[in-house]
């Protein structure tokens, strides 16, 4: 495994960390039906899933599209290719009211700038003072309502000490709050349809959430080590009884990413 995407032939089985992350995220979508696609890495992961593990996946874009059939990888989540050939184009009002808040979304797929052990997400500001941030991030967009209303939430992001933190600076999108018990009570009392985060895929491995509501490392990508995981996470991570190795990307998965989806390397650099 190397850091940079190789420019070699598509048949090359050498793959980058980003490619492994995208492939692992796409495979997690097997068996899912309706997916709300977030900005950035989720966009390429869901488009790969549609070409591999789940061809019938209904792609929902917050711009107001249900059942997108993108003929090229959308470069933004408002790309014209998500419209042509789609099942339905709706106003954003209908999309957020009827499709999302109405409970029709199985998986909300998000990226994040900061995440904590319970899957709470910050995409708003870095720094303690909202009014005077060290770094101003984009903000919620649709993420806060996706986290609350989608039946489950998948997250894809690269691991680092700055992004996997003990305490996020701002809670933009709720995860398992302070733990599973606390989250289940609040979700019940407030009538949320969503059950919160279920998967986090990084450039090093795959996490699911255990009975306490905390992230648990279940799978390490080929070449990644527990040491590398601990070096890029702000808490002592829980480990599955047996941490498995993520199967390598197949030649076909790599071909789809390099030739069909992202020939310019916009997502894999």
């Amino acid at each position: 495994m190397t850091d940079a995407a190789p420019n070699g032939a598509p048949s090359s089985t050498v793959f980058s960390k980003s490619e492994m992350m995208i492939v692992a995220a796409a495979r997690e979508l097997a068996g899912q039906h309706v997916c709300f696609v977030g900005v950035g890495l989720p966009n390429i992961a869901v488009n790969l899933a549609k070409r591999t593990v789940t061809p019938d996946l209904e792609l929902v874009y917050e711009a107001g599209v249900f059942g997108a059939e993108p003929a090229r990888l959308p470069l933004s989540i408002g790309d014209p290719t998500i419209v042509t050939g789609a099942t339905a184009v709706t106003s954003m009002y209908e999309l957020f009211s009827f499709y999302l808040q109405g409970g029709l979304i199985d998986v909300g797929f998000l990226g994040a700038a900061q995440i904590d052990r319970f899957g709470n997400i910050n995409t708003t500001v870095i720094g303690d003072d909202y009014a005077h941030p060290k770094t101003r991030l984009p903000g919620s967009g649709g993420a806060c309502e996706i986290a609350i209303n989608a039946r489950q939430v998948f997250v894809i992001m690269r691991q680092s000490k700055r992004s996997f933190v003990e305490r996020i600076d701002f809670r933009t999108s709720p995860g398992n709050l302070g733990g599973a018990e606390n989250a289940a009570r609040i979700r019940r009392e407030q009538g949320w349809l969503g059950m919160g985060p279920s998967v986090v895929v990084t450039d090093l491995g795959i996490y699911h959430f255990d009975e306490t509501g905390e992230m648990r490392l279940d799978s390490l990508h080929p070449g990644a080590t527990l040491e590398a995981v601990r070096d890029t996470i702000g808490w002592e991570p829980r480990l599955a009884a047996e941490v498995v190795t993520t199967p390598e990307p197949t030649a076909e998965e790599l071909r789809l990413i390099r030739v069909e989806l992202d020939p310019g390397g916009a997502y894999t650099k």
Binding site: V83, T90, M92, Y130, A143, E145
Partner: protein, 307 residues
């Protein structure tokens, strides 16, 4: 037959946009009226409150042009590229002056326009629970359901003084048709005091009446119709031209340097008298490269005659 509302961009902006106004140039990725934004910069409007779900490059340019004192928004970035750097300088370093922020989520912004359009005192939604957004913006408030089944959050109505909508076509009376992503242009237009519609093509009223399902904004709420082909570039118009993704990438290094931003505004905004000159400068090759790769016409439907 209605009276013609057709105007030049210069006249429409001069008469309809006033210093201190709240202005919404809407359009989600699609149909963003850069032409109107540039004319507002060119006319040196001041103290505007700019509302948009996604401020996008157009508000980065307008903030750099000094027209704004406040931003109302829900996602602040250059999609797929990075940050909006002129805006970030104002927020992170108050450089050259602070910028007031009022921040929501997308659904919150859509709800605000919806309440504004429907003359409601607030819009209720299930977002914001267990987040820090209500602390960051005290206008997001929890309310009890009057039917005793729990709490929801409320957002206040947003009634812009001016909404600008770019569209594929309208007639001279302002009856406006759009296809492709609809964003929340309809809600933002109905919520506004005054509306400018900018179109790729001016059509006969008969064209509108032949396909009434496609009309999203009636001339009833429109004050001016500006005919400005390619007025949405580097945003796009479904079926007419693609998003100029190269421009969005190129803006990143420009916008990191205040002097480069001002030089860009001199060259592309202050130094030009309108969209036609902008298109000339963009060049025929760049324009041709943005045409769709092929056609995808809709099927037609039969509305039937009922005499």
């Amino acid at each position: 037959m209605s009276t013609s509302k057709v105007a030049t961009m210069r006249d429409a902006v001069a008469e309809i946009v006033r210093d201190g106004d709240t202005v919404a140039i809407e359009g989600f990725t699609h149909l963003i009226s850069f032409a109107a934004g540039h004319e507002i910069i060119r006319q040196r409007k001041r103290d505007l409150t700019l509302a948009r779900l996604t401020p996008d490059l157009i508000y980065d340019q307008m903030v750099a042009g000094g027209v704004a004192r406040k931003l109302i928004f829900s996602w602040l970035g250059n999609p797929g590229v990075g940050g909006l750097n002129a805006i970030r300088r104002r927020i992170e370093n108050a450089d050259p002056a602070p910028l007031e922020l009022e921040e929501y989520s997308h659904f919150g912004m859509v709800g605000r326009y919806t309440a504004g359009a429907a003359n409601l005192p607030f819009y209720p939604l299930r977002s914001y629970f267990e987040t820090d957004l209500p602390k960051a913006n005290p206008l997001i408030r929890p309310i009890e359901s009057p039917y005793g089944d729990g709490m929801v959050y409320a957002v206040p109505p947003l009634r812009p003084d001016v909404t600008v909508v770019h569209a594929q076509r309208a007639d001279a009376g302002g009856n406006t048709q759009v296809w492709g992503l609809l964003g929340c242009q309809k809600e933002a237009a109905f919520a506004a005091e005054r509306v400018i519609v900018v179109v790729e093509e001016l059509v006969d009223e008969a064209v509108i009446r032949a396909d009434p399902n496609r009309t999203i904004i009636p001339g009833l709420v429109v004050d001016a119709v500006v005919v400005e082909p390619w007025g949405a570039h580097p945003s796009y118009v479904q079926g007419a031209y693609d998003r100029d993704n190269r421009f969005y990438l190129d803006w990143d290094p420009i916008s990191r340097d205040e002097a480069a931003v001002q030089a860009w505004l001199d060259e592309w905004v202050y130094g030009l008298d309108g969209r036609a000159a902008y298109l000339d400068r963009l060049g025929a090759d760049r324009v041709a490269s943005l045409l769709p790769s092929g056609r995808a016409p809709s099927g037609s439907v039969d509305y039937g005659q009922y005499r």
